[in-house]
Amino acid sequence: MIAPETNKEYDFSAPRKQSASGIIIMFANSFQKIVRALALPLILIIVKSKDSGNLALILIVFLSLLTIALALFAYFSYQKFTFFLDEKKQEFIINSGIFSKTSLTIQLNKIQQVNINQNLLQQVVGVYSLEIDTAGSEKKEASIKAIDHATATILKQKLLSHDLTENENIDIQTDNQVTGPIQPLLKLSNNTLLKIGITSNYGASLLLLTGFIFGTIQLFKDYTDALEIEREQITQMLSKGVTLFSMCFMAIFALIIILGTNIIRTFLKYFNFKIIKQKGALAISSGLFTHKNVLLTPNKVQLSAYSQNYFQKKFDLLNMKIKQASFDSADKEESKKSDIEIPGCNEQERNEVLNMILSHVPTKGAELKPNYRFIFLQTMIWIVFPISIFVLLSSYALPLLRNYLIMVIPYIIVVGIMLYFEFNRHRLYVDENFIIKKSGIWDVEHEIIEPHKIQAITAKQYFWHKAADVGHLIIHTAAGVIHFKYGNYTHIKSLVNYWSYKIEVSQKDWM
């Protein structure tokens, strides 16, 4: 399909329209919006009015008129939607709008990330959408809804290769034609995906499951209410049936469901996950039904992190997150989108990816340990405080609770172990080129930043820690905050001085 097209096709300097099938996409989009807005009132009208003869006719006429209007609208918006690349000014311009015209200009050096995605409809029609994420506090999002794959990839590379010369652009073009056979840096097999599904993201699936269970209970309640069934009978039956055996059965059942949803989610999201090296950038693609395609330029990465839990360690699996500047936009989802997750890789692949992003494999420098006060405060909050409340309640207010007093012992043991792990894993590693923070109880996470990505540094000390020379360190980056607590304050102060020196001397820009 790509073969007959000549290079002329990829000249973006003249205004271009989208793929002609874009009309269908635009039509579908606006149709969907209208249906969503009109569905409820329409249903109400139909239900409320009893005589159906005239109404049906009116509705059909109305709907067909609406469809025609939408089709016209889609056609004209397709005609008016143009985009082009101004190579001289280094700008990408999108013009759109039938009645009110908008012209969106994006400076190429402000482009953070270009994504090529495909939803179900686009898959059917055979087009892709191209979204441009820009940096800057004001959120200007640009997207082209219908574009064929070859044009999209080349446009994406043109948009991101603004500092390359014309010559190299041609290189990329030819490069692109042979992307297929290029050996990917990382490719997840179904086997790995299965392992990932088993070992990670319990929290999210648990939440999903709880939601599901509550939903079912609510449904059950509504159902019994509606049919006026004696609920007591059912609850009685239920409580009789709840024995130790059925409890165990339920627990196992829940576990299976959690693992099942986990595996399905992982496959949906990360099916055919691939990372390919492309001209100093990483192209990441994945997805079973909706293809996600992201190009990542290393110098825009603000923070990289990897984490591993006990099971993952056994499988030699690591979870990686690569964060770009998020500018704490009001929309949480929006900022999450710029995070790139690599669900599973082994140590060697992690090193390769990090090497690509940070230009060498990070090394753990001098270790900073927190003061024992770290565990002291946590013990107060998580053990002493709740248990004393529990004991007080059981001895004065609620004698019923006394039967459960024995539960205090396992609680102390479990929470104590968790706190010990938390303390033991709260570490900061500092060397010349990297700051690595390790933390976590079950999932042990390492967050890696380079000193020149720091935006601001805060050193903080409570007045009662003055004598003990203990304090906190907060490193602000464009992708979040790194917090090291209860460190040696003299050391922290010298680090703050060192890093401010490093930032101010360094010629490296943070983006």
């Binding site: 506090s137 500047a325 998020s326 500018f327 704490d328 010349e432 720091i454 935006q455 601001a456 540094i457 805060t458 050193a459 903080k460 000390q461 409570y462 007045f463 907060i474 602000h476 980056t477 464009a478 905050v481 102060k493 010298s494 703050v496 001085n497 060192y498 401010s500 020196y501 930032i503 101010e504 943070w510 983006m511």
Partner: protein, 171 residues
Amino acid sequence: MKEFTNETIDTDSLPKYEEVQLNPLHKKYWNVMLINIFIFLFVMGIGIATLLVLNANARGYTYVISGIYIVFAFLLIVLYRASLKKRGFAVREKDILYTSGIIALSTTIVPFSRIQHIALDEGLFSRIYGLGELRIFTAGGSSGSLHIPGIEIDNAKSIKELLMKQINEAD
């Protein structure tokens, strides 16, 4: 690799932020603080008074509640007074730092090269006393930006000018 040996430096000889002489906030800023505290206390007082009037049960504790209120007001004023003494900022050759906090004293350093933009705010009460608040934003979001209140407006303007010049130079 040359750069590497170049960059290994004696960390003790680096300029120390903790030894920098801080500029205190303007004395008149205490008045602004007091106005704010009194407004807060006034609103709270009205709330408590309505509670006492409307709720017969609470009326039995009138003395306890007003006692707590007075202690609270006293503590608030003392703590803010103490915090005012602790606050201060300094503009160094390549960065700006601000120290603040009541129970936790924190110092934040923002290098000029990381400043995104600067705003100068004049609040209603601050304007009465000719003061302004300098707000310095970085890409580190709200946690990574500085808000320095209580600077004399002319001074604040000149600091802003200076910072603007530095940013442009850094570019």
